[in-house]
Symmetry: C2
Subunit: 312 residues, 2 copies
Amino acid sequence: MSQTERIKGVLSPVVTPFNEDLSPDADRFVAQCQWLISQNCGLAVFGTNSEANSLSVNERIALMDSLLSADVDPKRMMPGTGCCALTDTVRLTEHAVKAGCAGVLMLPPFYYKGVSEDGLFRSFAEVIERVGDSRLRIYLYHIPPVAVVGITTKLVERLLKAYPTAIAGMKDSSGDWNNTKLFLDAFSKQGFDVFVGSESFLLANMREGGAGCISATANVNPGPIDKLYREWKNAGADQQQKDLDAVRNATGQYVMIPALKAVVAHYAKDPAWTKVRPPLVELSKEQASKVISDLEKLDFAMPGLGKQAATA
Amino acid sequence: MSQTERIKGVLSPVVTPFNEDLSPDADRFVAQCQWLISQNCGLAVFGTNSEANSLSVNERIALMDSLLSADVDPKRMMPGTGCCALTDTVRLTEHAVKAGCAGVLMLPPFYYKGVSEDGLFRSFAEVIERVGDSRLRIYLYHIPPVAVVGITTKLVERLLKAYPTAIAGMKDSSGDWNNTKLFLDAFSKQGFDVFVGSESFLLANMREGGAGCISATANVNPGPIDKLYREWKNAGADQQQKDLDAVRNATGQYVMIPALKAVVAHYAKDPAWTKVRPPLVELSKEQASKVISDLEKLDFAMPGLGKQAATA
């Protein structure tokens, strides 16, 4: 696979809608993914912001199958497949690869803390060997504030040496630009694609040879984030970055996942979107109003949102 | 259910043996559980030391069914059933309750960090409501060094008020005696059974009204730990505690899980026992020899171990 065929740009860790009984709502999920695609946004379904680890493996597979049945292009998908259990990770990854997904975003097994580099290498190696498919493209998922277990440059070095085709890149959600820079400097010239976990670092990432971003806020602000991705070399890029940051700050002032859902609910005029699975809780009415009113002070819109649902 | 019928005493988070291909080895697992029962040790199968979160839900259910098929008494079992996904936790818990298990040891959902008390309350409440079985007895599992997400006294207070029958106790693996004491003082008189997560605190726990311990080392040293549980009021108890601590220190000088498996492998004369699933790695030969030679300096034995396997 040549570099140019790789998935790049802006991807959204798509928020997962739930029915009243907390089961995943496949119809709203498909409509949301179609809207994101219409905004030129890739689908990092089953990420942290998707509450993916609050879903069983079967629930995730059923949601992915709904997307495929609705003819959503798997080449625009990078599903999260990393679980605590080796066999779960293998099963989800296999399903994604067979479906033709562009790649998979893989958390390290995150239950045990303080595990050795050797143990993490063996974890990823086992998955790659068991899936045994040359189409597999893994993006290593580094999110120490949540998973605690992280990805180190030494680990990437070993994995790239052993599996130069399967190891395609990473998502860095450390929130630490120095860490992103470390990986960019070490590996980006070898075709290892570094995505930042927040659009706050998108411009910096592009200037240093990064591949794009996979960001929570791409759930609600995909168009402008994609615009900066396409126009990062232009004179207005710094101002565009500032505008993106303002939207992110407004959205992320409380807990991010329920806030994203409150924003989708508001702009889609669809209150069912607010539902989250425990251990998360919905924003209070006051919190949700504050987020919306702060967004309304900015040049914020979700053009075309809710049309799919209305016409479905 | 009266207090006297509750499971108490010493339980082992049973280590899970693996075949060459890393699939769970049901035969060795059943034999080990039978040996533990012969030592008067309860079965906290699918705990942290069981690598339970490295197993899929189906793999855990299959292992539990192997125990039941082998007529291992479910009244001696407290399987771990807490997963990140609500639906997984419900499925495992339901299976355990229907099998007649004495209780379940339940981790909070542990992927998201910094979740609210409200979100955790809602997590446990959803499980209890969905399982909807008056036989359910939940032991809340507090293990902040691993799960990071923990159990607070306020959470227990709310849960006990809402579900006085289902909330039966806890396992405190904080390693902090002051924390254990806090829960004992607050709840033990209401029949909330506090198990310590290490036999190092067994004597202290019994003296303060605790229910026993659920400890890694009970995999290899169940008899003497049970002896202290039964004799804690006797004059020799402090010396017994010291002897237990010496065995624990020898076993736990490297990483606990592979060390336990190395000890079982040595005393059962069955090298297959050393296998762990990634992200864990086996002890090196030198580390394993050091653990064994340190144990041999103590009055350590695993009487009767390996006989089940030999006669099976």
